[in-house]
Subunit: 359 residues, 2 copies
């Protein structure tokens, strides 16, 4: 087990080593390790080596000049200057919140960025200001829209954070696919098949092959098949792609560059600049007195949490599992899988940073 | 078959007969019949008798004073004064677009309204101004969130309309459930079972009973079950409910009043006022020059429409089926089912409006 503070410090040293400023190295490490704390292991420190690979391949600018290139009082496009999404996204969210402070809401579409970690982190920045936070990002194409054999969309997540009064905040944070790709990687390691409805094969047929996405198949949109509404999951992923990519002038659809895998594509070879995000903030008191709203959110949360549940289960509020994980892991530490620990040890040796192997 | 103009005229006469102003009767009939034109039969003239029942039960104010009760430059709450949602929603969208004109975007949460017809109509109002339109609405509880035995959410749809340059606009318009309730009504009439994944029974088990929702069960969120992401569909429906209901001060969750069925609940018995909607408009040129954006939307649409497809299918762009239906029905007319025709004939007799039975 590792304490979050230990992992944050290590991550900060790695980002400093590739040339990030002290302030940005600290921010990026906080965002990255918040994923491990919140139980979203696939988006946490397991990706640190990937961010370094982006740097090695010249796709990451460690000292970006993040700037507004186009704006109105409530909208803007921000250019991330090929910086870490972990840094670009919170900065863009600050801009959205400043606009919301002045005119009630702020909406920022971001181009020329990279992977931004967990979407929920950025949306939750709005909470302390009594704002509702929105986050979306596009991602490299792994998803086959309804009836398509081609992979045209990423797992394109949406996060929405809504403050309550005495109850913990509502924080929905989900991909627009049936499952995240990480679930296939777990099955692949164990040599297990996948449930039907998660992926299709190269001919577009339902499959239980957990390697299907690697052999010409694709991830399925939320809804899985046409009869169960996959065109809705496709529509949702498309909205995320358009708001993040087309609205900002980033890459979109099949042109979104991969995170850090083989076959690097530079942003210039696509149809726009880098990866795109979309961040928004709405002041709750742009609609109602904040306390009235938050009292009603408490009522909403209590009604749902108090619903009668299927035997052995309970009705959760979006954000409950991540919050419970954070409460647990803040105290008891974070367990990392062996390949992750070894990837960190490699970074430690390369950059001369002390690191303890702890399995 | 009926011509759309004939149905619009008839609908207008009915709304006039219950006391709507000429201008609002015309607007409401245009919105209502646009659903029939676009192939969304469940939300069109089949509901006209339901709106009249709302009036009969004192839940509908035919001469509402729709007004802004709270606002900032980019946000507002609009009170629909118990008016027809068919009229309140387009008025709220006008307010959102005026705000967008001035500060880049406008977001309006609506309380004290009623059913607003098809969500897509209102979102599409933004297109002619080179804006992106957003529409959401909450609805009476039919949906059981993941692991819940209680029905807590409506089918809560989202529509997003995005302009393109030479291609037809992108118009996603979908419920946050696996299927619309109307699909069950079709199966019930035919005595057929439903596919697994559409509904659960009173104990929360998967069922093929097409009457399940009427006998203690519930509609399933998009994703159908936990393994296929139903918590995401639940999260999406919850976001729609919070934006439409909690943000405006309308009813929300289990308290949203039913459209026009037995057991009428007046708005005052709930936790807020009437039904809630959420409408938004973003100026495309609040982000990029409009033509750059629209050229990229053309590129997006062509890439998706041109994808390799499963045998015998094609990859559709959200909005394609509705647009094709509108092109067909505008010329060839609209076929109405017998019960719908009879319900219109009843209204015709009651209000002394000429109506031709045409099956």
């Amino acid at each position: 087990m590792y304490q979050a503070s230990y992992l944050k410090h290590f991550t900060e040293e790695v980002f400093l080593a590739i040339g990030c400023s002290p302030e940005e190295a600290k921010l990026a490490s906080t965002v990255l390790v918040s994923a491990d704390l919140r139980g979203v292991d696939s988006h946490g420190i397991a990706r640190l080596a990937g961010y370094v690979r982006l740097y090695d391949h010249g796709r990451l600018n460690p000292k970006p000049e993040v700037k507004v290139v186009y704006e109105t009082p409530s909208t803007a496009v921000v250019d991330g200057d090929r910086g870490l999404g972990l840094v670009v996204a919170p900065k863009a969210m600050e801009i959205a919140m400043e606009k919301a402070e002045k005119v009630g809401s702020g909406w920022v579409s971001v181009r020329n960025s990279n992977h931004f970690g967990i979407a929920g982190y950025h949306a939750m920045l709005a909470l302390e200001k009594d704002m509702i936070g929105w986050t979306m990002t596009n991602a490299a194409p792994l998803v086959t829209p309804t009836f398509s054999l081609d992979k045209l969309l990423g797992t394109n997540p949406i996060a929405v954070a809504v403050p309550a009064l005495t109850e913990p905040a509502f924080v929905a944070d989900f991909a627009s696919t049936a499952v995240a790709y990480g679930k296939f990687e777990i099955l692949q390691r164990k040599g297990l098949p996948a449930p039907l409805g998660w992926a299709q094969d190269a001919e577009g047929n339902a499959t239980t092959d957990s390697n299907a996405v690697k052999s010409g198949g694709g991830l399925l949109p939320l809804g899985s098949d046409r009869e169960h509404g996959s065109h809705k999951g496709y529509g949702l992923g498309a909205i995320v792609d358009i708001f993040s990519g087309v609205l900002s002038g980033a890459n979109f659809g099949p042109w979104v560059p991969p995170f850090a895998t083989a076959g690097f594509m530079t942003a210039q070879q696509g149809v726009g600049l880098g990866t795109g995000h979309f961040l928004g903030a709405m002041r709750v008191d742009g609609f109602r007195p904040a306390d009235d709203f938050k009292q009603d959110m408490d009522k909403w949360i209590k009604a749902f949490r108090g619903a009668r549940a299927v035997d052995g289960q309970k009705v959760l509020i979006p954000g409950d599992p991540e919050r419970e994980s954070e409460a647990d892991r803040s105290v008891n530490g974070i367990h990392l899988l062996e390949p992750v620990v070894l990837s960190l040890d490699e970074l430690a040796k390369r950059f001369g940073i002390p690191f303890e192997i702890n399995l």
